[in-house]
């Protein structure tokens, strides 16, 4: 097949992923790595690097609007992103050291696990936080944002910060190792574990991802695993698709989109598992 077929196919695929990713509330990386790893000819090393860069670029393009609207908070993200940055470096190094077949099997299991997590988890709009823990107070992890739907300001604070650090340490390893981004895990950790309101958790998740994805991306870049022919069309497609996704958000039916994403994840996870077992 001619070389140009692949970047064109990537552009079309990541454009669709960008749209679906916004509508389903998942980052692009979680769809990109299992699908491109399963159905495209690139080695998983290059696909993982591209997945991180795709997740990074999509988060960077969404971050300014989220920060200005108060739906993402530097104060909330900063200490957590420090932990996930360190562990995502470890994840990237581990991923580059493991044999491909074992990595494919682990990827398949992780992706199927993410699908199960997405299927079961239901966010809490405004979780009850009776008292902030001392660590979150010391780190200034509290604030306020304006909820346009409610027509009022919402004050927020968090709790269980040490458990949150532990969760983000684990999320960082997986994100760096598989290039999956981390929106699928950041939101439940911020919302269900630490008690951040759902809208703030969704907005801050993208900003939080920036630190971890950057750290791990440097590792892949340094190893020579960044293939422009794979990365650039993917970044462009995902960024343009995300812009269309934001416009379609009002008219879309998120439940239907979510089911499509879950189906894609199960198929791609199963394919990765089979590839790992040499089938």
């Amino acid at each position: 097949m001619d070389w140009w077929v692949w970047p064109v196919a990537l552009l079309a695929l990541t454009f669709a992923m960008g749209v679906v990713g916004v509508l389903a509330g998942v980052g692009g990386g979680v769809l990109f790595v299992p699908i491109v790893g399963a159905f495209f000819p690139f080695h998983l090393d290059f696909v993982r690097a591209a997945g991180l860069l795709l997740a990074l670029s999509a988060s960077l393009s969404a971050a300014p609007a989220l920060l200005r609207s108060g739906l993402a908070s530097v104060r909330l993200a900063l200490p957590l992103t420090l932990v996930s940055s360190l562990t995502s470096i470890a994840g990237a190094l581990l991923g580059l050291a493991l044999p491909t077949d074992k990595l494919q099997i682990a990827l398949g299991l992780i992706v199927l696990g993410i699908a199960a997590l997405m299927w079961r988890s239901r966010g809490a709009e405004h979780p009850e936080v009776a008292r902030s823990d001392p660590l979150s107070v010391a780190l200034g992890m509290h604030g306020m944002y304006h909820d346009a739907a409610l027509g009022r300001d919402v004050e927020w604070k968090v709790h269980r910060t040490p458990a949150g650090f532990a969760a983000f340490a684990g999320i960082g390893v997986i994100a760096g190792m598989f290039g999956l981004g981390a929106g699928w895990a950041n939101v439940p950790a911020l919302n269900l574990l630490m008690g951040a309101p759902l809208k703030l958790a969704v907005g801050t998740s993208g900003f939080l991802l920036i630190g971890g994805a950057s750290s791990a991306s440097w590792i892949y870049l340094e190893r020579g695993a960044v293939l422009p022919m794979l990365v650039v069309p993917s970044i462009i497609g995902a960024m343009l698709g995300a812009k269309l996704g934001v416009r379609l958000l009002r008219a879309a039916r998120p439940a239907v989109v979510r089911r499509v994403v879950l189906t894609l994840l199960v198929l791609a996870g199963a394919r990765a598992l089979l590839k790992g077992f040499g089938v």
């Binding site: 080695h43 200034g140 604030g143 630190g211 870049l221 340094e222």
Partner: protein, 129 residues
Amino acid sequence: MTPIEDRICARWIEVGTRLAFCVVLASFAIYALGLLEPLVPLAQLTDVWRLPVDRYVAATGAPTGWAWLRFLGKGDYLNLLGIALFVAVTIACYARMVPLFLREGKRLQALCALLQVLVLLGAASGLFR
């Protein structure tokens, strides 16, 4: 009222990302249109992109570390400039946070931002190789 660190961070990310996106678009056009000869010819690329990265580097002589800066005259490696800009936006953003937090007396947050910058610089420099 949006906190000042959120507003400043938004501005820095916006400017940095736009710049990186323009550089990536221009460099990829140069690469795909064949205006600059690539280090790895497109005909060979389809054979070697199936290899693990170590074997790819060995087969193509592709640079590792920061050695790609020496190949900015090649169509494929010119693209890494824009990609590296994307990744570097974060460092600039967190570095800007340090004096901001210090001025507001938020020492712990300033320390977190400084440590984040050091981690990112460490990763970029190859310290964790």
